[in-house]
Subunit: 370 residues, 2 copies
């Protein structure tokens, strides 16, 4: 199963012609999960190789406009593209994000008379008081739910912090476990950890033949982890005939933050194949970055190091940093300097540092072993 | 005083990489008035020659997303660009649009924690029941005003139809009278008429000298329309010494519609220097266009003809019509065909037909006489 990550917008604060506002897509087997949706995401999506109609889940890290203002329009356009598509597109779109998101969508879709051809549900994460300064807390008056649901809205869940693990369980199915964790920012922000489940290793068919087992339903039972009793009475354990399990991939995508809250996230993200972290400003602007709830490359590197991530992707650059291809001689702010700063902080760890750019796609390959 | 009109988005339904969502800017003496603000307008503005910081008034024709979803982000970005600008930028931004707009902005700016460096006020137009089919009427529950104003929000006016003139008076000052009028669309929609005031003609200085009047305050009084008594007792009337008045320009910008309601708009827009009208689909799709509350070139031409407009600009094209420069051989839908259809309907009238394109700027020159 292929898995890749495409950056649709890598700029902070607002979209510009050279960097879109925050959005990225994790694609697995043709299904697209969207992380954040700044203004202009639908146009960036059209310019990319991805298909808007395939977006089945949306995750919003926090409610700042540069991560959210594109969502109502994206849903409307996905719906317009849905009309001629298959039934499959009419599955419910699940949307995860902080408390307030449900009301935001209900009002923006409602006042504009937007009708969708598919249902949607907003599952809200309940922030804790320590995720932002006092002035960043949403007035409960602002999100008190009133009025009827949007005609295409299905009731969503409210998800609270699981105190023992310091994480939020968003959902789990046969392929994935997806959790969120708390970040500190000017307003409550979240990171997401997408953990693919391990898959059983291949069956050793040589050995099975020696044991006298022919291909058939018993193979499936062994692969599913059940033991099998031969006619001879001999019990075959799965571990005897299965090669090493194929470890699931782990992708961690953090929203805007100046720090990660609690110890849980580090355990959760441990050994991440890829960790996407913001680096809004260079190390030399650390004070300003932290004042605004943001990180520097050094701070992003510290998180990657603590999690033993394999690859660190720097993202969410101040619009002062032009994409590498656009930098001209004499320009003061080089995005390559941000990469250098993170690499310096990660010296000797073997963590690879990558600069996100609009339309960059990163493959996430299966590993043979941990 | 120069006056020009710049199209930032000329596509219908959603923004695409080749046509932005609806937005255009009327510029006079460096002040910019924005008409509609679809998603991506702020990026289109950055790509244009205009400056976002100069937007002092915003007019929203109707609450469909392709005319509105860019407004919260635009306000935030104008604010970010304001910090280093002069005091002048801190004037209140006046925003005009249908009932519901105030709540939309309060919720979108409020939930995203967006703080602006300038105040804003939303002046709402009260639609009448005949502006849309029953299902297009906003549930009053949806726009009932609750909760406190946004911290930067100033109380706005509620503007009702003036039944005698069939128009809405938005504001008037020394230079302009701006009115709105009713359109029929899937949801209530409005057109705007910007009427520049006539200016007194030049003073005939030759004649004034003959009368023994030297340059000074009396010249100003004559120009302001007051009579002046000479030492000799002779009374000089302004009409004796003023050349013909310079007629003010008239710009009419219509939102989405399949028809104009009432007789007032035709009188109001009579003799428009420029009339911007949607033509979403070609004449051959008239039924579909009207079903969706839209117009064809022939329908747009009929409005221009009834108003005796000088120039008709076709706008708001279905995304199936690529910009002229992008049309390839074999393409079925030619935007030039829309122009031809309007020209055919206007044969013999002398009305000039223009196709709007993203980033097209049209000068609106002063006329010598009516
Ligand atoms: Zn951000
Ligand atoms: Zn943020
Ligand atoms: Zn429209
Ligand atoms: Zn419309």
């Amino acid at each position: 199963m292929t898995m890749d990550l495409t950056f649709l917008g890598t700029g902070s604060a607002y979209p510009s012609p050279h960097r879109g506002a925050s959005a990225l897509v994790l694609r697995t087997d043709g299904e697209c999960w969207l992380f954040d949706c700044g203004e202009g995401t639908q146009t960036q999506l059209m310019k990319s190789q991805l298909r808007a109609g395939r977006i089945t889940k949306v995750f919003i890290s926090h409610l700042h406009g540069d991560h959210l203002f594109g969502l109502p329009g994206l849903l409307c356009t996905v719906s317009l593209n849905t009309s001629s598509e298959s039934q499959q597109d009419l599955n419910c779109v699940d949307i995860y994000g902080p408390r307030g998101l449900r009301h935001f969508l209900r009002v923006t879709l409602g006042i504009t008379g937007s009708q969708l051809l598919f249902p949607y549900a907003v599952h809200e994460l309940e922030p804790t008081p320590d995720q932002s300064p006092e002035e960043g807390k949403l007035n409960p008056e602002m999100t008190a739910e009133r009025g009827p649901l949007h005609p295409q809205e299905q009731p969503g869940r409210t998800i609270s912090l699981d105190v023992s693990s310091d994480t939020y369980l968003l959902f789990e199915d046969q392929k994935f476990v997806v959790k969120a964790f708390r970040l500190f920012h000017r307003i409550p922000s979240f990171g997401f950890c997408i953990q693919e489940r391990d898959r059983p290793g291949r069956l050793n068919t040589e050995l099975l033949k020696e044991l006298g087992l022919k291909p058939g339903p018993l193979y499936g039972r062994l692969k599913a982890g059940e033991s099998v009793t031969l006619e001879s009475g001999r019990v075959v354990q799965p571990s005897e005939v299965l090669e090493e399990a194929i470890p699931g991939r782990k992708v961690c995508i953090l929203g805007d933050c100046s720090s990660v809250l609690g110890e849980g996230p580090q355990r959760l993200c441990s050994g991440a194949d890829i960790l996407v972290h913001e680096a809004t400003l260079g190390n030399e602007h650390r004070e300003k970055a932290v004042d605004h709830g943001h990180s520097t490359p050094e701070m992003a590197a510290a998180v990657a190091r603590a999690c033993c991530a394999r690859r660190l992707v720097l993202n969410h650059f101040s619009q002062r940093y032009k994409p590498s291809a656009m930098v001209k001689e004499g320009d003061e702010d080089h995005v390559s300097e941000l990469k250098r700063q993170a690499e310096e902080a990660l010296q000797g760890t073997g963590v690879e540092v990558i600069l996100a750019e609009d339309f960059l796609t990163l493959q996430i390959s299966l590993r043979r072993s941990r």
